[in-house]
Amino acid sequence: MSAPGACAPAVELREVEKGYGELSVLAGASACLEGGRAHVVMGPSGAGKTTLLRLVAGLEEPDSGEVVRPRGRLAMTFQEDRLLDGLTATANVRLPHGRLRGRALGEFLEREREALRAVGLPVDARPVRELSGGQRRRVAILRCVLAPADVLLLDEPLKGMDDGTVGRVMSYVAPLLEGRTVVWVTHDPREAALLPDPVAWRVEDGLVRPARGRLVRR
């Protein structure tokens, strides 16, 4: 954990407490997440990893303490896919870009198609409700990493994917994370090795602490 004022934070938690009814999730958590870097957040189920992401995204308010939220635009891969079922994969991926027209639309569509092929998704006119669970997950990841955002929040994005698909997805996604502030929540310590020079954190016992010696090569 960096001391307050010791880093140039994109995100900072100051003595954050957050609970749901009787259940206390974060109890005085403090952390300083440096901007422009990837941060891997690990910890047991129910420790508060998702709550941490939701606090950073501004979807929750702390009961006490302070969350200094990142400036600029956010993008997020939620635990669920949260796709617009009636739209195609490309229309879903384009959602954060507003209404593109003419040349801008053509150029972005080309980029989208390239991205879909790179992660092994079909490029067709089907609405995403007709895609498999794994395919939908990849659409959700692409929507996040191709968004015009400075800060990316990803909640167990690779959950349930086989090693081959993970390799394919990450070889396309990892270069897109360079230079952006990334908060990557996972159960699997091997995922940290897939990210560019990540800082590892552990959420446990209501606190957010730097994790040491837990990064394993996949």
Binding site: A57, G58, G98, R143
Partner: protein, 264 residues
């Protein structure tokens, strides 16, 4: 699909297609109707389907028939369109502002409960008879579209709205992409219902208000002159328009939704 006990296939090669079964059922009732007409043998009381069909053909050869249908239809569709626009706009406002929702609720309940005839007489005091069916179609469509659109908006998945908020999707885009895709099935059902109700109520209003050269006026004339064949022929025309409209509008809406969904 599970079949109830005793239900059998209608043919040796398996089930007959649904359209064939429907056609057979319609044919059965037409035969019953024709036999009943022949048994009663009094054209003032009941006219058989063959005579009605003949009457309808001769009516359809006149310009007045098409003009009357066109005028009635145009007026009802104008009211329906106004009802759809007003219903959707009001539902959007109600979903955001609770005071509006509470204020509008009793009005919509009343609009659904008040008999069409009461509305017609009231509206006749305010507008000329040629505007009557438009106002009645609007009054019929508004509560249906409003209720369905509001329900659709309220059923919109909050997880999707949260997602749109995180991604900073602009309000107009949020309406176009998030709300619309969720509300569309509700709106589609409401529109079909409103279409049928508006058309029937519009014609009923014309029977009371008697605007010139309308379906309602012809129905009234048929009653006054005890011309039962005319009455049946115009009724068949009203039903045919209703069925065609529903099929056409339904298909057009489905095609539009499919096109919208398939865009890259």
């Amino acid at each position: 699909m599970a079949r109830s006990r005793g239900e059998k296939d209608l043919g040796p090669a398996g089930r007959l297609p649904t359209w064939a079964v429907r056609l057979l059922c319609v044919a059965f009732w037409l035969v019953v109707w024709e036999l009943a007409a022949r048994a009663i043998d009094a054209s003032i009381v009941l006219v058989g389907p063959l005579e009605v069909a003949g009457h309808l053909v001769s009516l359809s050869l006149t310009g007045e028939f098409w003009a009357s249908l066109g005028i009635s239809l145009a007026r009802v569709l104008a009211g329906l369109a106004a009802g759809v626009v007003a219903g959707v706009a009001l539902a959007a406002l109600s979903s955001r502002v609770r005071v509006v929702r509470e204020l509008v609720a009793p009005v919509m309940s009343a609009a659904k409960a008040v008999p069409v005839a009461s509305f017609v007489i009231l509206v006749l005091l305010w507008v000329p008879s040629r505007g009557l069916s438009t106002v009645i179609a609007l009054v019929m469509a508004l509560p249906i579209v409003y209720t369905n659109a509001l329900e659709g908006i309220r059923q919109t998945d909050p997880a999707l709205l949260e997602m749109a908020e995180v991604f900073g999707v602009r309000p107009l885009e949020r309406v176009r992409l998030v709300y619309l895709s969720q509300v569309l099935p509700y709106l589609r059902a409401g529109f079909s219902l409103a279409l049928g109700m508006s058309w029937k109520a519009g014609v009923a209003a014309e029977v009371i208000g008697l605007p010139d050269l309308t379906v309602g006026e012809h129905l009234y004339d048929a009653k006054v002159y005890l011309n039962t064949a005319d009455l049946f022929a115009w009724t068949v025309a009203v039903v045919a328009v209703s069925v065609c409209l529903e099929a056409l509008v339904g298909r057009a809406l489905d095609a539009a939704v499919k096109r919208w969904e398939a865009r890259p």
